[in-house]
């Protein structure tokens, strides 16, 4: 007997499992693969939310440096410095340094409390101290 003949002799048996085929078919046909509307809806939603999220990330990544941008900060701090400098209870102590950085120093006296404020050369508030008299 050859190998081929042996395989042929063994190949006669065919199995059948009652009900399995129909049950498997039913399960497969209920699979979400065939749920066209849901699939398209989710695809659209997924695409839209991905795009929206990407847009948010892009906007955020551009806006974060803008918040930290020195021009904006200087403007705001310059406003603070200027308005403080004009106040009656604030006097300029002139130029000094804070932590090795040159600074313009203002001192505000109010209700027996002295507040010393240090601004850098871009008039950004870099430090303040409060002393009670």
């Amino acid at each position: 007997m050859t190998i081929e003949e042996l395989f042929k002799k063994a190949n006669n048996e065919r199995i059948e499992l009652n009900g399995h085929k129909e049950r498997l078919k039913t399960v497969l046909l209920k699979n979400e693969y065939f749920d066209i509307e849901q699939k398209e809806y989710w695809d659209w939603k997924l695409t839209f939310s991905s795009l929206a999220f990407s847009a948010m990330i892009i906007v955020f990544s551009y806006s974060v440096p803008a918040v930290g941008n020195s021009n904006v900060a200087v403007d705001e701090s310059k406003g603070l410095y200027t308005s403080l400098e004009k106040s009656n209870n604030v006097s300029s102590l002139g130029a000094g340094d804070y932590n090795g950085e040159s600074a313009n120093i203002l001192q505000m006296v109010e209700d027996g409390t002295e507040t010393t404020m240090y601004f850098n050369n871009r008039n950004v508030l870099i430090h303040s101290e409060v002393n009670n008299k």
Binding site: I3, N11, E13, I15, E16, L17, L24, L29
Partner: protein
């Protein structure tokens, strides 16, 4: 026939249930019998067949008709072969992946499975062949089953196993030689000289 299958596949990819049902009817028995002859256990053959078709469905969108007329047949058998090999790696830990309570109700299948296995116990040829084949390298096992039980060409087997056709020819020759040697030793009690 192949054109028909190609059309059915395309329709099934467009979510046509009727087309998928026809494909399922065409391939169910082939896959079930292939997996059963590989594992010789009706319950596992059933689970492997179920998992195979579930994977067919999940990956149907990615299937592309190429490599000639055996394309879809080869693709299904590739999935089934992967599942069978996964079963061999996991043996008794192989699980059914379909999570459907209705499906898990076995009904009279246990009894049917027992009957089938009793029947197979009497099929000495299949038992001897299977015992001998299992002593071969996994790829040799795949080739012998696909060539002699499923009657596939070398070209088709090369698609199923992702190997060059000439490699499959060489492996097939070696597999047959090794099988013959094993059978000469193991099966002489049953078959006499082969």
């Amino acid at each position: 026939m192949d054109t028909d299958i190609e059309i059915l596949v395309k329709k099934a990819q467009e979510k046509d249930k009727e087309a998928f049902t026809k494909l399922f009817d065409l391939y169910y028995d082939k896959v079930l019998n292939y997996t059963f002859r590989r594992v010789l256990n009706a319950e596992y053959a059933k689970d492997i067949t179920s998992n195979t078709f579930l994977k067919v469905l999940k990956n149907l969108d990615q299937f592309e008709w190429r490599n000639g007329p055996f394309s879809f047949n080869g693709w299904i058998f590739k999935i089934a072969t992967n599942e069978v090999n996964q079963y061999f790696r996991k043996q008794n830990r192989y699980k059914l992946t379909i999570d459907d309570p209705d499906f898990k109700e076995l009904g009279d299948d246990n009894k049917v499975a027992e009957e089938i296995e009793k029947k197979i116990d009497n099929d000495k040829y299949l038992l001897i062949l299977n015992k001998a084949i299992k002593q071969l390298k996994p790829i040799y096992q795949d080739i012998l089953h696909l060539k002699y039980f499923e009657d596939m060409s070398y070209e088709e087997i090369s698609q199923v196993l992702n190997k060059n056709e000439s490699t499959i020819r060489v492996y097939s020759k070696r597999a047959k030689e090794e099988l013959k040697l094993i059978l000469e030793v193991d099966a002489s009690n049953f078959l006499g000289n082969i």
